[in-house]
């Protein structure tokens, strides 16, 4: 005998339609936000901004050169920063106290002073060392220390001090058992770092490093003070001539936003690449 079905005595609701929750609060919030944005847009549209100037200068040759300079300076300074950061982190984690000391001194020195001051120091290096090199193989410092080189060294070396801490945090996040397992199959310290530790540290390192990368895009604008022709410097040069200050600052702002918008999905791709084996396939 099948057990009597309780449903037989309940009302039949099988054909009723489901009505989801209305979330009135959300709709209200959206309405308020749209109103605020519309108001802001109107303010800018009727404000003292000549938008056709923004359009006209958006791809001006000087701005394009500035864009190019900003991009390569970001890549170059980050490449230098990451290289120095990895070397410094490895030195800091080494059993050798001399290497540890050098690494700590470097981090201390470059984290302890403002970047803009470091940029000015590199750019004015000629005041300390009029010539670089030895005897007949020397050159005038002013000929070598161009704004571009000073910016690359200033931003890259400063970045290295910060990146080293990010990398070190990544290395510390890997279980010590991993070092031991690597040693047990005959790996030297450096091979273990390269094959076992760094690939695992990457997962922890990429989000803050993405942050630093985005920070560097904007940090390059500081190099305008040593006459490096990046976007902001280009925009300033144009508005010194035509006085369209706000329009050109908006041009620069839009370009920074575009660069950063492209970097964000790249970071997500990298993160996925290094999440291998992290229990994601479960």
């Amino acid at each position: 005998m099948p057990a009597p079905n309780a449903a037989a005595s309940l009302p039949d609701i099988a054909h009723y339609t489901h009505v989801p929750n209305r979330h009135w609060g959300r709709w209200l919030a959206v309405a308020i936000i749209i109103l605020l944005i519309a108001g802001l847009a109107r303010a800018f549209a009727v404000g003292q901004i000549e938008w056709d100037f923004v359009g006209r200068f958006f791809t001006a040759p000087a701005i394009m050169t500035g864009l190019y300079n900003t991009l390569w300076m970001t890549l170059g300074a980050m490449a230098l920063g990451i290289t120095l950061g990895v070397i410094t982190a490895v030195m800091r984690m080494s059993p050798n106290p001399v290497l540890q000391g050098v690494a700590m001194g470097y981090t201390w020195l470059f984290r302890g002073t403002p970047v803009i001051l470091q940029l000015l120091l590199w750019f004015n290096l000629a005041l300390i060392f009029p010539r670089l090199g030895f005897g007949e193989f020397s050159v005038r410092t002013v000929d070598v220390m161009t704004p571009a080189l000073a910016a690359l060294l200033g931003l890259g070396i400063n970045q290295g001090a910060y990146t080293s801490e990010v990398i070190r945090a990544g290395m510390l996040s890997v279980d010590t058992g991993q070092y031991e397992a690597a040693k047990a199959i005959g790996m030297t310290r450096l091979r273990a770092l390269r094959r076992i530790i760094f690939p695992q540290a990457m997962r922890v390192v990429i989000p803050p490093l993405g942050n630093e990368f985005i920070g560097m895009v904007k940090l390059t604008s500081l190099a305008s003070v040593i006459q490096f022709a990046e976007i902001l410097h280009a925009a300033q040069n144009i508005y010194y001539a035509n006085s369209r200050v706000i329009e050109l600052l908006i041009v620069a702002a839009i370009w920074y936003l575009i660069i950063v918008s492209i970097l964000t999905p790249l970071q997500m791709l990298l993160e996925r690449r290094f999440a291998r084996g992290a229990g994601g396939a479960r």
Partner: protein, 264 residues
């Protein structure tokens, strides 16, 4: 090398531990341990927590550097080069080379989580021993089959059970073709129902003639597989002998207390 660091193999056990001492700060973890292990022998080390079992094992493959004494593995003095009456510390590369004769299996498996089971196993042969990759893959597949995991080659450690991970770890150590295998409580991090599969893999290995030093609390395994059982207490070997004698007819009061505590 001006004078040989090796001894004639005939007179030499595979592992010779001679009066080894190790202090961590003021605490004496090893207080003069001497122990020989012949090739093909299976030795189980038992003892209470903190008695120095792990430390002794880690000294053998130089994860811990000893304060005094000597450890010879496969006829070579570990960690030092003999030059006249002087001992020179070996450079890191030489220490890494010496470790190749020893495989180690850890309590917590320590598989490389970013590599599949197969990649874990071929990592040492390909990257360290520079063996041909295709050949290493073939051998790794055979090793996986040997530990009963032929179908798990492509799995990441996170997707394997503890027992499966530990068997991959055994295969990874074996892939280096070591002469000696060290096991540090290989089943104590496992759920009870997974212990058997790992012990079975170890029994098969023992039967194949591998020299093994096994730190374990599995007295059943020791009784069945060990040629010799060593009981340690407070950094020293207190009693040793054939498994049946040490476990069946203990002499030392401390060992008796330990055994009755473990068995109850």
């Amino acid at each position: 090398m001006s004078q040989s660091s090796t001894m004639p193999p005939a007179t030499m056990p595979l592992v010779a531990i001679v009066d080894v001492r190790k202090k961590f700060g003021d605490f004496e973890a090893l207080a003069g341990v001497s122990l020989d292990v012949r090739a093909g022998e299976v030795l189980c080390i038992i003892g209470a927590s903190g008695s120095g079992k792990t430390t002794l094992l880690r000294c053998v493959n130089q994860l811990v550097t000893i304060d005094s004494g000597a450890i010879w593995v496969d006829g070579e003095l570990t960690g030092w080069r003999i030059d006249g009456t002087k001992l020179h510390a070996l450079p890191e590369k030489e220490v890494a080379r010496q470790r190749l004769s020893t495989g180690m299996v850890f309590q917590r498996f320590n598989l490389f989580p970013h590599m599949t089971a197969l990649e874990n196993i071929i990592e040492g042969p390909v990257q360290v021993q520079k063996r041909n990759r295709a050949e290493a893959v073939r051998e790794a597949e055979a090793l996986l089959a040997r530990v009963g995991l032929a179908d798990k080659a492509g799995s990441y450690p996170a997707n394997l059970s503890g027992g499966q991970q530990q068997r991959v770890a055994i295969a990874r150590a074996l892939a280096m073709k070591p002469k000696l295998m060290l096991f540090d409580e290989p089943t104590s991090a496992l759920d009870p129902e997974l212990v058997g599969e790992v012990l079975a893999a170890m029994k098969e290995l023992a039967a194949s003639g591998m020299t093994m030093i096994v730190v374990t609390h599995e007295l059943g395994f020791a009784r069945e597989v060990a040629d010799r059982v060593v009981y340690m207490d407070r950094g020293a070997i207190v009693e040793q002998g054939p498994a049946a004698e040490v476990l069946g007819n203990p002499q030392e009061p401390r060992l008796r207390a330990f055994l009755s505590a473990v068995l109850s």
